[in-house]
Symmetry: C2
Subunit: 164 residues, 2 copies
């Protein structure tokens, strides 16, 4: 996909969808723990060197807890939730900015009441995410508030579902 | 400015401003024709390779008519207006996507009733914009609808103000 092959104008549709942009729900195949996440790649062009994606985490859902060499630049567009970046957990609302530095553990969680949608800018050339080891999860949970964040009811339910 | 030196969380404030982000109104110094445009650089990090900026064009205002080698990827965030990209003029609304390919004339115009605010993603390394020559303006105006677009009352008023 390249901007040169797209129309220059792609109108927004209802419900945070876009004309000419594929809606990609993530499949829960057990390779990485997450719940109810979809992706839409809004801009991808080699000439730009970067991509802009829209991710949506469904009500009560969460993204994969992961880290990688590449940085993320995030702007929330829809809903409310909480976000873990390194040792910090913050509530987020529309238009808030979140920077995810290199090699920093991060996870997004939607509230119990509405989906959490956000833009994410990344470099076109990037590495694959790493998942935490059991020891790393233990170390993260020793940080203030992180055990509560990681052990919300939905997360526990999903972990249990995965282990079936 | 680099993300590593910024807080990872920068909350949105009222009125499309952000905590820790400088508000930069463009000065009308006559070097390029535009009216009532401000810029806020939301993300700039060498590691990312790209920047995300928020531009706002005040009610009845417009950005500079220009072109350049680098591409732009735009998402409207606030208000309504019209946008010229090459030979095409389209109305735009929040969340609409606009791609501005390399060397393509473009201009954003806010409506008479509200500001037009949009995100613009660009590569960190980019060339300076070119302004059209008189002949190029004449050629653009020969395209359907472009003369009307370029000759809205505010634009004429500004040109007249500039020539005083």
């Amino acid at each position: 996909m390249d901007n040169e092959q797209q129309p220059n104008f792609r109108p927004a549709l209802e419900g945070f969808r876009w004309d000419g942009v594929a809606y990609q729900p993530y499949k829960q195949d057990g390779s990485a723990p997450f719940k109810d996440v979809s992706r839409q790649v809004l801009f991808h062009a080699d000439g730009l060197g970067c991509e802009l994606r829209y991710f949506e985490v469904g009500t009560g859902g969460y993204s994969t807890l992961e880290r990688h060499q590449h940085a993320h630049a995030v702007m929330v567009l829809r809903g409310h939730g909480e976000c873990l970046v390194g040792a910090e957990i913050r509530s987020v609302k529309p238009l808030d900015l979140v920077s995810i530095p290199s090699w920093t553990w991060h996870q997004f969680r939607a509230s119990e009441h509405e989906p959490l949608g956000f833009l994410c800018m990344v470099n076109v050339a990037r590495d694959r995410p790493q998942l935490p080891t059991e020891q790393e999860v233990t170390d993260l949970k020793a940080l203030p508030g992180v055990a509560r964040f990681l052990e919300k009811p939905e997360h526990k339910a999903h972990r249990s579902a995965l282990s079936i």
